[in-house]
């Protein structure tokens, strides 16, 4: 397998080159497109680092959903670019910034290359604990996310919810409660509609599949939820469906369902297993899947809402 190193080097150059393009491009939109391509390539890097779970997340969230978000923004701001404002930075500032960036990158590269050998790791502990309270999960990452670092995962869902409220809060007062502006153009192209009609159901199925196998194989709530989110977005872009009103009860409940269920079961752990966020060994796996189901729901709802933006006055009634 002697071609792999060459491919690795090529991939690294491509990724770094696209990053440089993103920074250096003169045109705002070109820079955005460069970044989106970069995000997709990054997924390949993660595969090469033996991180299929991260690769899935990066492809779905970092590449896909972020791509839609940034390209939409880039398109809307493109019209403004003339008075983009702020003088172009002076040469002195460029030199200082360049020197600083070079210094930080150099120091980081040095430190990363000289990381201690053998590397400290929690992999044996995680593997050993898979039989214990981690509880019958073949995918150690899911075990870490839902069991050992449950607190991170639960609070990170709260972060997502705060971001949704933050996005809503920049809207106009008069629009509060209404739906965000439609994602697609008024008359979407036939190809787009066809694509959404074919892709959305299959993609949704795959999303559920990725979530379901996530207990034992690469995949999980994040990745599955992100894929479902992407499919909902595709349907909205083809105008097969419209963004929901932000005061809809079902929407609010779906948003909080993930962290709320996690929280309730976490509390119940005190009675059932003696500690907050502890799972009784006999029910650990079903409980974890139960929590994850609601997490998938919350993620699938939150991501498209973040892309759709604040409520829009035009659709208020």
């Amino acid at each position: 397998m002697s071609v792999l190193p060459i491919l690795d080097v090529g991939l690294a150059f491509l990724v770094v080159g696209l990053a440089a393009w993103t920074v250096a491009a003169r045109n705002l939109f070109a820079s955005v497109v460069g970044y989106v391509a970069y995000g997709l390539l990054l997924a390949l890097v993660w595969i090469r680092l033996y991180a299929p779970d991260v690769a899935l997340t990066e492809a779905a969230v970092g590449g896909g959903v972020t791509g839609v978000l940034l390209i939409t923004a880039g398109k809307r701001l493109g019209a403004l670019e003339k008075d983009e404002a702020g003088a172009t930075p002076a040469l002195a500032l460029k030199i200082v910034a360049g020197a600083l960036a070079l210094f930080v990158a150099g120091a980081l590269a040095w430190v990363v290359v000289t990381l201690p050998d053998p590397a400290p790791t929690l992999a044996p502990a995680a593997a050993a604990a898979a039989d214990g309270p981690g509880a019958g999960l073949g995918n150690p990452i899911t075990a870490v996310l839902i069991s050992y670092r449950s607190f991170d995962t639960m609070l990170e869902k709260v972060v997502l919810i705060l971001a949704v409220i933050g996005v809503w809060s920049v809207g106009a007062d008069s629009a509060w409660g209404a739906a965000p502006a439609p994602l697609g153009r008024p008359q979407p192209a036939g190809a787009m509609v066809l694509l959404a009609q074919i892709l959305a159901p299959i993609g949704a199925l795959i999303g559920v599949h990725i979530f379901w196998v996530g207990a034992d194989a690469p995949g999980g709530a994040f990745q599955g939820g992100a894929l479902l989110a992407a499919m909902w977005m595709a349907a909205m872009m083809a105008r097969l469906t419209e963004p929901p009103r932000i005061d809809a009860r079902w929407l609010r409940l779906a948003l909080v369902a993930g962290p709320a269920v996690f929280l309730v079961i976490g509390f119940a752990g005190l009675g059932l297993a003696g500690d907050f966020f502890a799972f009784p060994p006999a029910f650990a796996k079903p409980l974890i899947l139960f929590i994850e189901t609601f997490m998938v729901l919350s993620i699938a709802v939150a991501l498209p809402l973040l892309v759709a933006g604040p409520p829009n006055g035009r659709s208020a009634r």
Binding site: A189, A191, M192, L194, L195, I198, L199, I202
Partner: protein
């Protein structure tokens, strides 16, 4: 028997790589966006199809083989639609 499968795999994947290569050359060399698009969709459709075909005998299970074909079909559907959309956008831009 397995040697025959291997030969088939190599041939199909090799052909697939050739089409990808040709498509990429087209992307770089062709003069305008529409012809470039044309070259690129060839690579997607044919090149990927051949590679999937070449990988089929090496699949562990029927499910894995099915997933491979599904990937090809999905790429085909999205590639064709995207090409169509880009083409439309280009025509609108030219008018």
């Amino acid at each position: 028997m397995s040697a025959l499968f291997d030969l088939f795999s190599f041939a199909a994947i090799g052909a697939g790589v050739f089409f990808f290569f040709a498509g990429t050359v087209g992307l770089i060399r062709f003069p305008d966006s529409l012809t470039r698009l044309h070259a690129l969709s060839k690579a997607d459709n044919l090149g990927l199809g051949l590679i999937v075909l070449g990988l089929l005998p090496r699949a562990d299970s029927a499910l894995a083989a099915f997933k491979l074909v599904l990937i090809w079909a999905l790429v085909l559907a999205s590639g064709a639609s995207t090409a169509q959309l880009i083409g439309r956008a280009l025509r609108r831009g030219q008018k």
